[in-house]
């Protein structure tokens, strides 16, 4: 299973440690909010709204260099727009994985 990492963020930041820290802080703030919003929409069966959040979350997967998770999210976003939630449980595993990773950095 692929692991989230800081490769992209390090490349983006270069020698700018201050930016790197600030960016990670933004990510740590934004990700849990989007994760919570995603859960709310799934629980309320608001599929289009859930798809909108998956759209944002998939960008986070890219930022954390998770290409497989990104491709999965692209499919899931389409599924949600078609009203299907079959991929929800696997998607949540990725969210938990990222949540755990963000607690370590």
């Amino acid at each position: 299973m692929e692991e989230p990492n800081l490769k992209y963020i390090k490349e983006l930041s270069g020698d700018d440690i201050e930016f790197e820290q600030k960016f990670i802080s933004i990510l740590k703030d934004e990700f849990p909010m989007e994760r919570a919003t995603y859960k709310e929409h799934i629980d309320s069966k608001n599929m289009n709204e859930a798809a909108d959040v998956v759209h944002k979350l998939k960008h986070k997967f890219n930022i954390l260099s998770m290409e497989e998770a990104y491709r999965f999210a692209v499919q899931f976003e389409e599924q949600l727009r078609a009203g299907k939630t079959d991929m929800d449980s696997d998607f949540r595993i990725t969210l938990t994985q990222i949540d755990n990773f963000l607690k370590t950095i």
Partner: protein, 240 residues
Amino acid sequence: MTCIIVDDEATARAIVGKHCSAVADLDVVGEFDNAIDAIKFLNQQDVDVVFLDIHMPGFSGVDFVQTLKNCPKVVLTTSDTEFAIAAYEYEAIVDYMVKPLTADRFQKSIQKVKSALKKQPDSVPSLNTNVGTGAQAEQDLYINIDKRLIKLHFNEILVVKAQGDYIDITTENKEYRVHTTLKKVKDKLPEKIFLQIHRSYIINFSKIIDIEDNSVLIKKMVIPISRSNRPELMRRLNLV
């Protein structure tokens, strides 16, 4: 060059901002997490380029480009490659970057923006009228309701009424209350279709059912005609 960044994700704005900081002659003069605030800003201040997320809730990047009459150059930033072809139908859109943005790709985009700015005459329409959307935009009015820009086609507007600091726009199917003045909305409406017949009323001339004494009937609404506006109304009537 000046630019603004429009994206509902803070991480995405930070990434674009970081890339912008590496361009010596580029100043970020504003960051917005929604399109409506960005449009308000652009109505007050000119910029050279907008880095714009195409996928934002309620108001897409394409809506954004269509809404602005004098749209600056736009670079779309998005995860949705399927929008690319549609995006290039608009003259204002000079590039399309797929997230996550890299430094090399961003630099290429800046070169495209600079080339486009060099080619740009003083006044260029923001939309490519060849695709038909430019003419369409001239027939619409956008109103701001709860941070959403709602498009009203001129033909569906029946009556505009002043209500203190607000106006009430009555359409065929719905009524909208907008925080603006009758004077401001009058300036946005084409004179061929609309006519002010009272201090507090602008009507769609083509929707008149009949005129009786000092009032006009539109649908089921009886609209007063003021003495000062009556001559212009009578002049416009095709009387037998």
